[in-house]
């Protein structure tokens, strides 16, 4: 099991699209795949519309990525959260750490300072 990672750069923003379940099994590889994509632009959009489930370990991986990005002066924005993913993130407090938008096009313009 892996999470597929596709990235592109648009309007000075890196968009990373993920697909698959982020769990303890997939998260280590995912982290290794994402980190090199961060830091080239000032904003990284992580598009989760292809992610139906994120486990406890998966949420921690996202937060670690976010923290790594901050150290590289890059803002992380999460988009495309499935309703359940958003609910789990809200209930467990993870949502509080992130900038969350509806979809990538909401970011491909000015980003919150």
């Amino acid at each position: 099991m892996t999470v597929s990672v596709r990235s592109r750069e648009q309007d000075g923003v890196t968009v990373v699209e993920l697909e698959g379940e982020i769990t303890s099994v997939t998260s280590a590889e995912l982290q290794a795949d994402i980190l090199p994509l961060i830091g080239g632009t000032t904003t990284t959009v992580i598009d989760l519309s292809g992610v139906p489930y994120i486990s406890s370990a998966g949420l921690r991986t996202l937060l670690l990525v976010h923290r790594q990005a901050l150290r590289r002066q890059t803002v992380t924005v999460l988009v495309g959260l499935a309703e359940e993913v958003r609910f789990v993130m809200a209930s467990t407090g993870f949502l509080d750490f992130f900038d969350v938008r509806e979809n990538a096009s909401a970011v491909l313009g000015p980003v919150r300072e």
């Binding site: 099994v25 406890s56 609910f87 209930s91 467990t92 407090g93």
Partner: protein
């Protein structure tokens, strides 16, 4: 430092296909270590021990790894297992040893046992979901990540005497469809209600048990409807280190720890402390007929108080009694409380049937119980609130005499009974009422007022509404022929039993509720409110809803509109208490308190007296008059300090909003030296 940096991060041998090495005996339980997981379990009497691994949710074990003899240090079996998927793992233990109940041993090697130190437990992930009784080890330990990001959060350390405690049931608080939260009946749901708590003004929530328990652990049915009854309150603990998964909206994903921590963090951010109601007097294993879950199969004679014949002592009224002062059990309880303070940032504990914490292994009450002393002086627990329910089910009643070591507070059952008896108009209560109002110096001399947790109602017994609407309990729905629950309720229905449309009775009930709350919130000591009493929540006369997972127990938020008047009154009283340190003095008062009757300076202590007024004076002056008589009285007021005049804060006989004036808006009295107190009412005056 990477895992490669440790020279012991590799297996020394293979058991059942897993690389393992001799583990560390401490800490107990399952702990993530570089490359693997360390499992450690205590059993003094076991001859053999196995670690049983499951893939999450699987009916059959993945593997069973027997602890080699060399992996045992003293009475501790410890093994590090490498290469496990921590998120997809469940585990248990199997212990073999003698089955010899007469000598205390009840080993059963056919059972897979729950780790007493399990920090997360699966099996009851979604409240009420059908149980799988055939599953080996129905309550399966799982590993939990302890790297929650608390930011700068820490326990709040609000001075005890400044607390206004609000006792609530996590599920009951938001389970009702009217709650309007996104996940009813959960930690997340409660988090959404933090603004309500903040507006009400309480600064501490006391959560009824949140350790893992089995809501299906009740064999009874409602005789009228045939509906199965629940173990709704949750006092039969299955896992002492694990938050109840069924209380988490994310329990089905195994994220209950993060969800509960997020709740605590949110409450702290709103200035609200968290006290847990903890139950160390008994476990869910019951007596000889009960299920073997954990302790019984690991080391029965260590964990339970046994008679010389090997039967279970039943000081708890529930079948077994935890052997609290056995050195191993003492450590267990201490480890558990430290865990909740350090991992979950909780601010304190209320100990259910705490008199059992005082008993020796043979049941004898101890003058210096080592457990109670140890908890009082523990460095991690140093600033925690420790509150004893200072009695047990076998007649040990220690209200006022619980060994406190300068640290312990108590649920003051005598406060409850005195205020109830006064309110209903019993004779001979005024003298004792006076003592209760000032922090019960007869009970807590030398300990201060904060040793007294004052309450009129709690989860156990009538709600405030039912206290003034029922003369007797109505527990038929509990399936025991109305035999369960307390009989000495000191309640009065104000004229007719239960629901009525009679406006005179309804008005009197409303006033009696306000009287109780006015007395409670102007007494020295720590006031505790029962959730929903500010909205006149009813349980239809049931005074023991431990088994009622339905609208009898759930808070109906529609009451917020229906009983807005009472809610406003309580909110105002809490604000008044917070605004006036005089009401919260930590020391028992001396000359700064004076007593009055119909005439100033002349309290009537006679048995027939049903009126008492108390004047508290320091930099400010507060006068509270309580009239439980059915007649009005024209009071001569004591002189306020020169340059000030009496202003009216509250009068429970007045119509809302004149029953309570918000801080700064209190009107002066028409006649500065006199006040007419209506029948069965309470008034609060402030000199300024």
């Amino acid at each position: 430092m990477s895992t490669a940096d440790r020279i012991d991060a590799y297996p020394t041998r293979t058991i059942a296909g897993y690389g393992v090495r001799s583990g560390r005996p401490l800490p107990f339980g399952a702990t993530t270590v570089p490359g693997g997981v360390n499992f450690s379990v205590y059993s003094d009497r076991a001859t053999r021990m196995w670690l049983v691994l499951f893939e999450a949710g699987a009916p059959r074990p993945l593997a069973e790894l027997e602890f080699p003899a060399e992996f045992r240090t003293g009475s501790v079996f410890a093994m590090t297992v490498f290469g496990l998927d921590e998120e997809d793992l469940e585990y248990g233990f199997r212990a073999d040893g003698p089955f010899d109940p007469e000598h205390g041993d009840r080993f059963d090697a056919s059972r897979v046992l729950t780790d007493p130190y399990a920090r997360m437990i699966s099996g009851r992930d979604v409240w009420g979901s059908p149980p799988d009784r055939d599953r080996p080890c129905p309550y399966r330990p799982r590993l939990v990540r302890d790297d929650f990001d608390w930011g700068d959060d820490a326990p709040l350390r609000i001075p005890t005497e400044d607390l206004v405690v609000y006792e609530l049931h996590v599920r009951g608080f938001t389970r009702h469809p009217s709650s309007g939260v996104s996940a009813p009946g959960t930690f997340a749901g409660l988090r959404e209600k933090i603004p309500y708590l903040g507006e009400l003004g309480v600064n501490c929530v006391e959560l009824m048990p949140v350790f893992e328990f089995d809501e299906h652990g009740n064999p009874r049915r409602d005789p009228a409807t045939g509906a199965p009854l629940a173990d709704y309150w949750g006092y039969n603990t299955v896992g002492f280190f694990a938050p109840k998964a069924g209380y988490a909206a994310t329990g089905r994903f195994g994220m209950q720890a993060d969800e509960f921590k997020t709740l605590v963090k949110g409450l702290h951010a709103a200035g609200i402390e968290v006290i847990l109601d903890v139950v160390f007097n008994h476990t869910a294993e019951g007596n000889e007929q009960g299920p073997t879950i954990s302790f019984r199969g690991l080391d029965n004679a260590t964990y339970y108080m046994l008679t010389p014949e090997g039967h279970y002592y039943n000081f708890s009224g529930t079948g077994n009694t935890v052997n609290c002062n056995h050195p191993v059990v003492r450590d267990f309880i201490l480890d558990c409380l430290r865990h909740w303070v350090s991992e979950y940032h909780v601010d304190g504990f209320r100990f259910d049937l705490a008199a059992i914490l005082d008993r020796a292994p043979d049941g004898t009450p101890l003058a210096n119980p080592p457990l109670v002393e140890q908890l009082a002086h523990d460095p991690v627990l140093r600033h925690c609130k420790l509150i004893a329910e200072a009695w047990d089910a076998a007649g040990l009643y220690e209200v006022g005499s619980f060994p406190d070591y300068g640290r312990w507070a108590e649920w003051n059952g005598k406060y409850r009974d005195t205020v109830r008896r006064f309110l209903k108009g019993d004779e001979g209560t005024v003298g004792e009422l006076a003592t209760r109002l000032v922090g019960s110096p007869d009970l807590y001399s030398g300990r201060g007022t904060a040793a007294s947790v004052n309450f009129v109602t709690a989860h156990d017994g009538f709600t405030l509404h039912d206290l003034v609407a029922y003369d007797t309990k109505h527990n038929e729905a509990n399936g025991e022929g109305n035999a369960d629950g307390a009989n000495d309720n000191h309640s009065w229905n104000c004229g007719t039993e239960g629901p009525t449309g009679d406006p005179v009775i309804l008005r009197l009930r409303g006033r009696q509720m306000k009287n109780a709350l006015a007395i409670l919130l102007t007494s020295q000591g720590v006031p505790m409110l029962l959730a929903g009493d500010e909205l006149a929540r009813t349980q239809s006369g049931n005074n023991n809803t431990y088994c009622q997972d339905n609208e009898l127990s759930w808070l109906d938020w529609g009451l917020l509109e229906a009983n807005a008047e009472l809610h406003r009154f309580v909110r105002g009283l809490i604000a008044f208490r917070h605004a006036h340190p005089l009401l919260r003095g930590a020391d028992h008062p001396g000359s700064e308190v004076s007593w009055h009757g119909v005439r100033a300076g002349e309290p009537d202590w006679s048995p027939e007296s049903r009126l008492l007024a108390v004047l508290r004076g320091g930099d400010e002056q507060i006068y509270v008059v309580m009239n439980a008589h059915w007649e009005p009285h024209d009071l001569e007021l004591p002189q306020p300090r020169p340059g000030t005049a009496w202003h009216l804060v509250a009068d429970t006989a007045a119509d809302s909003p004149h029953d309570l004036h918000l801080p700064g808006t209190e009107p002066p009295l028409e006649d500065p030296g006199r006040y007419r107190i209506a029948p069965r009412s309470t008034a609060i005056l402030l000199a300024r």
